[in-house]
Amino acid sequence: MPSMTYGEAIRDALAVALARDPAVLVYGLGTPDPKGVFGTTLGLQATFGADRVFDMPTSENAMTGIGVGAALGGLRPVLTHQRLDFALLSLDQIVNNAAKWRFMFGGRGSVPLTIRMILGRGWGQGPTHSQNLQSWFAHVPGLCVVAPTTPEDAKGLLLNAIFGEDPVIFLEHRWLHNVTGEAPEGFYRIPFGQARRLRAGADVTVVAMSLMSLEAAHAVDHLAREGLSCDLLDLRSLNPIDWPAIDASVRRTGRLLVVDAGQETGGVAGEIIAHAATRLWGDLRAPPRRLAMPDAPEATSPALTAAYHVRAEHIAAAIAEMLGRSTDTTPLVAARRFPHDVPGDWFRGPF
C-alpha cells in the first residue's frame, strides 16, 4: 500500500470518486483555489472541470440546501467547510432537510450528500475557528457522522460517504492533515459503524476518535512499556456507533475510558458512558471515566491553550489512576519537540 498523508488520502478519495461516477460534485469555498483546501482539492478542477469541481459564494446555508437538491436530483455532492464553525449557518438545511428528507417523505427520495467539516485548533484559531460540535450531529436522526484518524480510514470512509445513500458529516481534524500512513490505491469503501482496534489489551478499554485516537495511542504505548495493557478502539464512526465492539471490549476489561474530541458536557463520551452504565453495569469493575475538551471556547492566546486540550500525558495518567497505578509521563511530554499550539514542525501559521 502506498504511503500518503491524511490530506492526500482525502484528495485521493475525491479524485477516485470523481473519476468513477459523473454524478460526483466537489464544491466549497476555495475548492479550486491555489491552496486547494489545505491541499485536499488541489488539481481536481483542472482534471474534472469547473462544472463538477467549483468554488461557491459565502452562502453556507443555501449551498447546503443546493447540495440537498442536487442529491435529490441524482448527484452525489461533496461540500467542504474549511472550519466546522461555518456550518453553523447551515444547520437548518442539514437537520430539517438533509437529515429528514427520507423520513418525512416516507422513503421517497434520499440525500447522498457528504459534508466535510474541518476542525481547527491552536495557533490562535480562537473561539469561532476551533469548535467540534460532533455530538450535535450525532444527536440528529438521519445523519451519519464519521471522524477518521488515519489516511486509510479517511479515504475509505469518505468514499463510503460519497457512494452511500445517507447524508454524512465527515469530520477531519486540521492537525491530522499531515499525518502519514498507508492507504490502499483505487476504490474501496469502509462501512460505517465499525470501530478499529488500534491496540489490543486486557486491562482497560480506551475509546477515542479523530486526533484523540493518536494521543491515546501514544499514551497506550507508553503504558505498555510499563506493563499496562489497554484495548484502544478508534471509534471512526460516531453515528452509527459500533456498540458490539465497545461492549465486547468492556466485557473483557471491565474498565472504560472515553477520550472525547469535543467538549465534555453533552459530548459523545458521555453518551458512550451512559450506554455502558445502563447496559454493561454488571461488566464494569470500576467507574467509567471520560476526558474531553473543557466546557469553554478555545481562546486565542497560546498561554490559554496550553492547559486546554487533552494530550497523551493526561490520558496515560487517567488510565494509570483507573488501574491504581502511577506513571511517569515526562517522556510523553518530552517527545513533543514543538510548541503546544501547532501540530508539528511543519506548521508555521497562520492557518
Binding site: R52, Q93, N97, F105
Partner: protein
C-alpha cells in the same frame, strides 16, 4: 376533444377549490389531525404554473402547497390520504399536509420551514443543468420568503450559474397575521428585490389566471432559451385563516372590507364569466366539470377513509438507509 388552455385553467382552479373546500368542511371531524394551510382564493398562480410547466419539469413548495401539488399533477388520493395520516398517503403518513411529494408528477416535495425548499429547488436545477437536460424547476414561494436570507443566497447562486429555475412568488400580503408593512420597508416591491439579485423579474395580477399564465410561460420560455433564472410575482389573496379551515376576518388583523374587495376579484368567477361570455365554455361544460370534480373529490376522501393507518413500527423506519439502519440495531 382536448381542453383549451382556458378550460384547463378553469378546471384546475375549480378542482383545487373543491378539494380545499372539502378539507375545510370536514376538518372539524378531527380526522385530519395535522395543520392545513388552504389556498382558497389564490388558485390562479398554481393553475397557471401547472399549465405553463411541462410534466417533466420539477417543482418544490412550502407549507401552503396543496394547490401546487395538484396543479403539477400530484395524485389527489395520495394527498388526501396523507392529510388523514394513512399508509396510502403520498408520504405514507409521515409528512401530512405540509409535506407532499409525487415524483411521477415532478412534484419533488414541499416542506414546512419558510424558505426551506428554495435552495433545494436551485440544487435540482443545478442537477438538471449538469445533466444537459432541458427541464426547469419551479420554486413556489410566498411573500415572506423574500425576508429569508436563504432566498438571497439561493438567488445569487442561481444567477451566477444561470440555472434553469423559476421562483414563483404568490404575494398574498400576509405572513400568518402579519401584513407586509411590519415585515418589509414600504415602497419596495418583491420583484425589485429579486431583480437586484440577478433574477429576471416580472410581476402581475395573480387573480387573472390567463395573464398569470402568460407571465409564467414567458419566463419559462426565457429559461428554456438559456436566459437564466426568472422571478414572477403574482398578487393574490388568501381567503381563509392562515392555518385551518375557518374565515378569520373578525379577529382584527385585516378588515372585512379588504377581504370583500379581494373576494370580488375571485379568479374562478372571473374566468368563468369571461369564458361563458366569450363562448369558451357553456353551462353544460361547467356542470359536467364540477360534477366530475365532485366525484373525484368524494372518491379521494372515501379512499382516505378506507385506507389503513400505518403500523406503529413505521414511526421508526426510513430514517437512515437500510445499510446504516442495520448497523444501528
Amino acid at each position: 376533444m382536448t381542453a383549451t388552455l382556458p378550460q384547463r385553467l378553469l378546471r384546475d382552479m375549480l378542482r383545487i377549490r373543491a378539494v380545499e373546500e372539502a378539507i375545510a368542511e370536514r376538518y372539524a371531524e378531527q380526522k385530519m389531525r395535522c395543520p392545513v394551510h388552504l389556498s382558497i382564493g389564490q388558485e390562479a398562480p398554481a393553475a397557471a404554473a401547472g399549465a405553463a410547466l411541462a410534466p417533466t419539469d420539477l417543482a418544490v413548495s412550502g407549507h401552503r402547497a396543496h394547490a401546487h401539488y395538484l396543479a403539477k399533477g400530484g395524485d389527489l388520493k395520495a394527498m388526501i390520504a396523507e392529510i388523514h395520516g394513512k399508509a396510502t398517503g403520498c408520504c405514507s403518513g409521515k409528512g401530512g399536509s405540509m409535506h407532499l411529494t409525487d415524483l411521477s408528477a415532478g412534484f419533488v416535495g414541499s416542506t414546512a420551514i419558510v424558505g426551506g425548499t428554495v435552495p433545494v429547488g436551485v440544487g435540482l436545477a443545478l442537477a438538471r443543468q449538469l445533466a444537459g437536460r432541458g427541464e426547469m424547476v419551479c420554486v413556489f414561494i410566498g411573500d415572506a420568503v423574500l425576508e429569508t436570507g436563504v432566498f438571497y443566497e439561493s438567488a445569487n447562486f442561481a444567477a451566477l450559474r444561470r440555472l434553469p429555475v423559476l421562483f414563483l412568488c404568490e404575494n398574498n400580503l400576509y405572513s400568518v397575521y402579519s401584513p407586509l408593512s411590519v415585515r418589509q420597508p414600504a415602497g419596495r416591491s418583491l420583484a425589485e428585490a429579486a431583480s437586484a439579485m440577478g433574477l429576471n423579474a416580472t410581476a402581475g395580477d395573480g387573480n387573472d389566471v390567463l395573464a398569470s399564465h402568460d407571465l409564467i410561460a414567458a419566463a419559462a420560455a426565457r429559461i428554456r432559451r438559456g436566459e437564466g433564472p426568472q422571478f414572477v410575482e403574482l398578487a393574490t389573496y388568501r381567503w381563509r385563516e392562515h392555518c385551518g379551515p375557518m374565515f378569520d376576518n373578525d379577529i382584527g388583523y385585516r378588515s372585512p372590507a379588504e377581504f370583500e374587495a379581494w373576494r370580488a376579484l375571485d379568479p374562478i368567477a372571473r374566468l368563468t364569466r369571461q369564458l361563458l361570455a366569450g363562448g369558451g365554455i357553456d353551462n353544460a361544460w361547467l356542470a359536467a366539470t364540477s360534477g366530475a370534480i365532485k366525484d373525484e373529490v368524494d372518491a379521494a376522501f372515501a379512499f382516505a377513509d378506507a385506507s389503513p393507518f400505518p403500523g406503529p413500527e413505521a414511526a421508526f423506519t426510513d430514517i437512515w438507509s437500510p445499510e446504516v439502519a442495520a448497523c444501528r440495531r
